[in-house]
Assembly symmetry: C2
Homo-oligomer: 312 residues x 2
Amino acid sequence: MDKRHAIGIDLGGTNLRCAVISRDGEIIRKVSEPTSDSIEAEIFRLIDRVLADDVAGVGLGVAGLIDRRQGRVLVSPNLPGIEHIDFVSGIRQRFNLPVFVENDANAAALGELISGAGKGLSNFVLFTLGTGIGGGIICNGDILGVSAEIGHMSIDAEGEKCPCGNYGCLESYASARAILSKTIYLLEGGRESILERYCQGNFYKLTAEDIFRAALDGDMLSREILKTAGRYLGIGIANMINIMSPEAVILTGGLTGAWDIYVTEAIREASKRAFKDLFDRTSIIPSTLMGDAGIIGSAGLVFRSQETPAGT
Amino acid sequence: MDKRHAIGIDLGGTNLRCAVISRDGEIIRKVSEPTSDSIEAEIFRLIDRVLADDVAGVGLGVAGLIDRRQGRVLVSPNLPGIEHIDFVSGIRQRFNLPVFVENDANAAALGELISGAGKGLSNFVLFTLGTGIGGGIICNGDILGVSAEIGHMSIDAEGEKCPCGNYGCLESYASARAILSKTIYLLEGGRESILERYCQGNFYKLTAEDIFRAALDGDMLSREILKTAGRYLGIGIANMINIMSPEAVILTGGLTGAWDIYVTEAIREASKRAFKDLFDRTSIIPSTLMGDAGIIGSAGLVFRSQETPAGT
């Protein structure tokens, strides 16, 4: 029978998402579960729930550094439990299917290429803007296959230490975690804001959405924090434009909800900093698939392997 | 007759260099001239001097941003006279040969891949460390074909303005120009150094080599300046390791002469900042071709075009 579908699994967030996907990126069946401590058993269970005879293979998008050759996760700061688990052998043995592993942001970039904002493009950089900041790079119409850890590019030589070991990482200035942490710091320091009402004085209940909502309500503190974070994002975008001369920078993740302040400021800053000839050729656009890009791109790893000559 | 040679032209420095090169990177004949104001006529003259029947085409490595499709230089801060000159048509019409254009640092990276420090590697980043800082990226055994302007990656969000428009560019901290400018600034401020003797008090006669020589003689000011510049270079290297997960970072250009202080400090800093799993897989090594990498790689553009299927 024609193996026209593939299973894509996204291990990038707090939920483990799994779906059967068609070659053109259509989601046929989708299931998800909160990520547990026994991830391998959970993956097996989810695959069992969606598996059918027309599935050609399994692709996994995993948060962290990947050893593509061996199909292993080297480092996953957010999911340390999956480091060095041999997914490929485990799934391959149990389901007798080919298995492919990629970094979750690279997989999401492939998803955008297949059926999202990157469709028809050959070269783009995806920024995943959430709790942390990840990156995926498409070059010459394919995943570049590099680490693309753009959230851990230092944009401030003397900046604060990041848990990754570097100092002044983009992620420490422009992620949701950075925005929340700065907000709480300023509120605790006595800055006035309608955010105090939003959280009844318990600053640790605040979310990035609260800050964006407050900013839209005219809250000066929230506007200032989002603009500053956006300005740093713009520096990261300018750096990637100067290095990768992409056709597009595609932005995805929860923080793109704050487009009108945070992203608008980022685009303004990038326009001042990147080489003008490169900036003018780069569209800075939102993802169209958002949370589904990861499963679509992970499944795409399977189809992609069928198109690539062996050994490349 | 077998067209087994190609002409490589390096328009990256103060000299225009031109050579006939074999497929395996051997230099058959080489000529050079100081770069003049009438560059196109100069290129024609140099090609005339080395041209033979066995030449398959001409490759040019040009300092600046390249429009590869149109074969034009978009921006060349150091050689503004060549912006928007249509090299490809000019040379093609006059010599009836195929012509290829690349950024000079990308061409040098291809040279290192063909017969230099990158031979046998598939993925590396070349840093050209001279008056400015350029970059070339090899991925999957070929030039990646992106701008790779790593000298204009901001590593200091609030840093000084660079002529390129960005702020806090790597080049403003770690290039020979930056090292000289900081040295002169500190000497004019009254800092003591044996450099005063080297230049008989005329600080503007100093070169980066003088500073390295003074550092080796134990001059504290020179050591401090080279170490600081090296530390910033290390930040740039760590960023590129985190983004590109290369097998190697290859360093070339005049400043690599100061390896024992400047580069050693860079490697130390990068080791502290890059993801450990990526850093441990990256060799940081000197170019073996140095000034010849550009002409060898430019000629390599011709051979490369013969191996690549049309349209890719």
